[in-house]
């Protein structure tokens, strides 16, 4: 069908990673298709976050391959993966809590001249222009995430839902095509959820591809275009959310009944 | 009222105890000494000697009626500390003269002395590089004299013609080692190997083991201070049985008391442990006097004489240049260890004794008379 014809933007093949004697990820393969939201689900300890860590270069793999638009990214370091267009959030947010909201987002914006020591001193004009552009971009992003009123507050002073938004804002600013969201909805109450869900949708409208880990099945059904079900480091099933959530065998594994 | 009276009373007493100082401010001089660190034993002697001299000078009416005041600074064997101390002495205290010690610190402050016309008198450092420096006088012979004597004595009279050398890793140690190698070679000896050690080190076994493996009939120690005691002890412990030798530098209490240093062959510069000076020193500081106590006593006395001479010439004013000219013109000074004549190279010559360290004392075998 049309789904098969669409070539994946990222494809994970035969990925394996163990810690000590525990096989956290084992022969894991799935595809992420462009312009869609893929939900990575599974019970606790299924290896979801490990997959994220391997994709983003924070962990090595024992075997396997990760192709980003056909290019192998396994073995690259985290910043190289980011520069190739894969950004991520963390379960524990990892905001720069003693920096302001604006600075957190500015760190997501590309400022190659300002980060280069030589141009910093030798091309002050270019640096100034770049910084101004970055600020403009950061303000737009903050606007997009509804944080423009919080620009100069310290990240640690924000309420938790806003911190969550900020963690997404900062990677959105990076302008990378693939966004990995680690439990974007966890710890949020109903109202905040209503704020986040449309935002994630809007990311796709802005041309992003989203891979997200989520526990909230309702949310997964509502958000995802595709779902990958992970169990004990393997992909048990992949498909449309409706198919997965309706499968009683999977539900049993998921809820550990 | 009573306090005022008692203050008055004590000041009268004090004035009575000290001879009245006729005119003006005290004369301040500096003394840059190893008061801390591995050479602190030398510092005790040097400071004590200078202190005793100053007290005697003041008890005798000071220098041309002015009181002498010595300002002590610590260099802890560190030349840059010496430089800082020297700057303070020159810029704040405005001294015309300073005692210095050790080779590296003295060399480091000498350019400042020249720039500010301050006379330096070094009674301790012995590097050959200290000779022929403007504004710097050494009332001690440079080490090559002593090393020459012992090298010749060891090679020709003791028939110890192959040596291994352990060398302190500093100006004095290296300079002496270089000179030893030359003079020993000239006397028919041969240095087979040398190893350097840190002056403030405490474990030299690896180096000594290496030297032991090279054989030789003599272990020459080109080091000083407590370092030597440790080297000697550890050499014996490693089964090094060949004779050991050094120069007068090694004669500090730590070495003389050490088991391993017994029988060490050494030079000695004239020092009488039973002299009146030595007794007085012991009474005052509760520790035995050593050669360097006399050296700094003498250096201070030499300054007093030169300063008196300079002030006589200038009609009362005292400057470093005046002191320098006075030293150059007087040249020969009477000291408690005999006549001292400053040579053309700004150094002194002394009788050099050679002998063996036995039971904490040097048994002198031979005295080589000073020759200019």
């Amino acid at each position: 069908m049309s789904m098969a014809a669409e070539s994946p933007i990222m494809s994970v093949k035969g990925l394996a990673r163990s810690f000590g004697g525990i096989q956290a990820v084992n022969d894991c393969s799935f595809d992420v298709r462009p312009g869609r939201i893929t939900g990575l689900i599974g019970p606790n300890g299924a290896g979801k976050t490990t997959v994220f860590n391997v994709i983003t270069g924070f962990l090595g793999a024992d075997r396997g391959s990760i192709l980003l638009r056909g290019r192998e990214i396994l073995g690259l370091s985290p910043h190289q993966v980011e520069r190739l267009g894969v950004v991520r959030t963390f379960q524990h947010l990892r905001l720069w809590s003693k920096m302001t909201v604006l600075e957190n987002v500015l760190l997501g914006c590309a400022t190659p001249a300002g980060e280069n020591v030589f141009s910093l001193f030798l091309r002050p004009g270019a640096v100034r222009a770049e910084e101004a552009r970055a600020r403009e971009r950061a303000m737009e992003v903050l606007e997009f995430f509804g944080l423009s009123g919080r620009t100069h507050e310290f990240a640690e002073d924000l309420a938790y839902p806003e911190q969550k938004l900020l963690s997404m804002a900062r990677i959105f600013a990076a302008d990378a095509p693939v966004m990995l969201l680690d439990e974007p909805a966890s710890g949020l109450d109903g109202e905040s959820l209503r704020r986040i869900v449309p935002l994630v949708r809007k990311l796709v409208e802005h041309g992003k591809t989203v891979l997200l880990i989520e526990h909230n099945m309702e949310l997964i059904s509502e958000l995802s275009d595709d779902v990958v079900f992970l169990h004990q480091g393997r992909v048990l099933a992949a498909g449309a959310p409706a198919e997965i959530t309706r499968d009683p065998a999977l539900t049993e594994i998921y809820f550990g009944v | 009222m009573r306090t005022i009276l008692s203050v008055l009373f004590t000041s009268i007493l004090a004035a009575g105890a000290n001879p009245a100082f006729a005119q003006g401010n005290p004369i301040k001089i500096g003394a840059i000494l190893p008061l801390t660190g591995s050479g602190a034993s030398y510092g005790v002697w040097m400071k004590g000697g200078a202190e005793m001299a100053a007290e005697e000078i003041n008890a005798g009416g000071g220098i041309a009626g002015r009181k002498l005041e010595v300002i002590y600074e610590d260099h802890a064997a560190d030349a840059s500390k010496a430089v800082n101390a020297m700057r303070r002495l020159v810029e704040v205290e405005k001294v015309p003269f300073s005692l210095t010690s050790y080779s590296a610190p003295t060399l480091a402050v000498q350019p400042i002395a020249v720039q500010n016309k301050v006379v330096l008198m070094n009674g301790g450092g012995q590097s050959d590089n200290l000779a022929n420096k403007e504004y710097l006088y050494n009332n001690i012979p440079v080490v090559s004299n002593e090393v020459g004597v012992i090298a010749e004595w060891l090679a020709k009279e003791k028939k110890l013609t192959t040596a291994v050398m352990i060398v302190a890793n500093d100006e004095a140690g290296r300079n002496a080692a270089k000179t030893f190698q030359e003079k020993y070679g000239a006397a028919g000896g041969k240095v087979l190997a040398d190893e350097q050690v840190a002056l403030d080190g405490t474990d030299f076994r690896a180096q000594l083991a290496k030297l032991k493996a090279r054989g030789g009939s003599l272990l020459y120690i080109s080091s000083y201070g407590r370092n030597v005691a440790i080297i000697a002890d550890q050499a014996r412990e490693l089964g090094i049985t060949i004779p050991m030798a050094g120069t007068s530098w090694i004669l500090v209490p730590e070495v003389m008391k050490s088991k391993g240093a017994e029988g060490i062959l050494t030079t000695r510069l004239p020092f009488d442990g039973d002299s009146a000076f030595a007794k007085k020193f012991k009474d005052k500081y509760k520790t035995d006097a050593g050669f360097f106590a006399v050296q700094y006593y003498n250096a201070t006395q030499i300054f007093a004489k030169a300063a008196a001479e300079a002030m006589k010439k200038s009609g009362g004013a005292l400057s470093g240049e005046g002191v320098k000219n006075a030293i150059e013109s007087v040249r020969t000074f009477d000291t408690i260890s005999g006549k001292l004549v400053f040579q053309a190279n700004h150094g002194a010559v002394m009788d050099i004794e050679v002998g063996t360290l036995k039971g904490g004392k040097v048994e002198v075998e031979k005295i080589i008379k000073a020759s200019p």
Binding site: G57, F58, P78, H79, R83, V87, F90, R94, L95, W96, S97, K98, M99, T100, L102, E103, L106, L107, T111, A113, G114, N116, V117, L120, F121, V127, R128, E130, E131, A134, H152, F154, R170, I171, A174 | L35, T36, Y72, E73, D78, A79, S80, K81, V83, R87, R88, E91, S103, A104, L107, A108, Q110, P111, N129, N169, D170, E171, R174, N175, L199
Partner: protein, 295 residues
């Protein structure tokens, strides 16, 4: 007396450069180095040797000093900063030990413990700076230059990245920052500036030997940074003014010479403990963020 105050100010200038440059590591990058005295020494020796053996004078010496300082630092930073900060503490200690061994033992080059005398005074456009009060201006000019460089580095996108790395390295990596490269770059810049201070020192004192660049000097420079406040650019300068005054103050108290040096060290050490317990942000305190105000 004025000459004496001038001397104090020159030393404040030199140590301010050392403290500012070390603070790029300690304060802005969260990397603790025990080798800053070695870097300072490398600068002093490189500059002195260039002046004495090649006759390139003060300016040539300073440029080469900065280069050699950065290079030495890179040699250690490249292996150790790839792993973790604790490795760098030990590796920098190693650099300190090795550099000092080179100063002491490569006698053909460094003249060993005897040191290098007769280093020429700087010549600025034909004007030889040989009075302490003249040197105050030179030292101050370089301190201001260092301050400007540090300001530019920390109040920029680069400074933002530094701070991000210090606060959360993982997050910085995830945002595409090449953490290792940035750390190595800042280590090299810090060292180049520190070496420059060494050059100033050598041409001021006109004599150098290894003992001025030993481990305790590294710890002393770190104290200047920490007590003044490592989170502000001006912190190290305040620390320098105060801590350099302590030995002078002690001279006015009647403390015997043999005790004065350890007493000084005890004061430095006690200040470090007290500040860590009571006011870890140092005298000047904390600004939680600075780069915000960059334009």
């Amino acid at each position: 007396m004025t000459a004496y105050i001038a001397h104090y100010l020159v030393m404040v200038g030199i140590y301010a450069i050392l403290a500012l440059s070390l603070n790029l590591l300690i304060g802005y990058s969260g990397i603790f180095s025990l080798a800053h005295a070695a870097i300072y020494g490398i600068g002093a020796y490189a500059s002195a040797l260039v002046a004495l053996k090649l006759g390139l004078g003060f300016w040539g010496g300073m440029v080469i000093a900065a280069g050699v300082g950065a290079l030495a630092s890179a040699l250690v930073a490249i292996p150790s900063l790839r792993v973790s900060g604790d490795y760098y503490v030990v590796a920098s200690f190693g650099l300190q030990v090795v550099v000092l061994a080179v100063f002491m033992n490569w006698t053909d080059l460094t003249n060993g413990h005897a040191g290098l005398p007769g280093i020429p005074r700087p010549n600025v456009l034909g004007w030889v700076i040989d009075q302490p009060f003249e040197y105050v201006f030179l030292a101050a000019a370089f301190a201001v230059l260092t301050y400007a460089v540090c300001w530019r580095l920390t109040n920029s996108a680069f400074g933002r990245v530094l701070q991000a790395i210090r606060d959360d390295e993982i997050a910085a990596q995830a945002m595409g920052k090449d953490v290792v490269r940035v750390k190595i770059v800042i280590a090299c810049i810090s060292s180049a500036l520190g070496a420059m201070a060494g050059s100033l020192y050598a041409h001021y004192i006109t004599y150098i030997n290894p003992s001025s660049f030993a481990l305790h000097e590294s710890i002393f420079i770190a104290s200047l940074v920490i007590l003044g406040g490592s989170e502000r650019l001006a912190g190290p300068i305040v620390g320098t003014f105060l801590l350099l005054a302590i030995p002078e103050v002690l001279k006015f108290l009647a403390i015997p010479d043999t005790v004065a040096a350890p007493v000084r060290q005890i004061i430095y050490g006690a200040l470090l403990i007290i500040f860590m317990l009571v006011r870890p942000e140092g005298i000047l305190g904390r600004v939680r963020s600075e780069t915000e105000h960059a334009k």
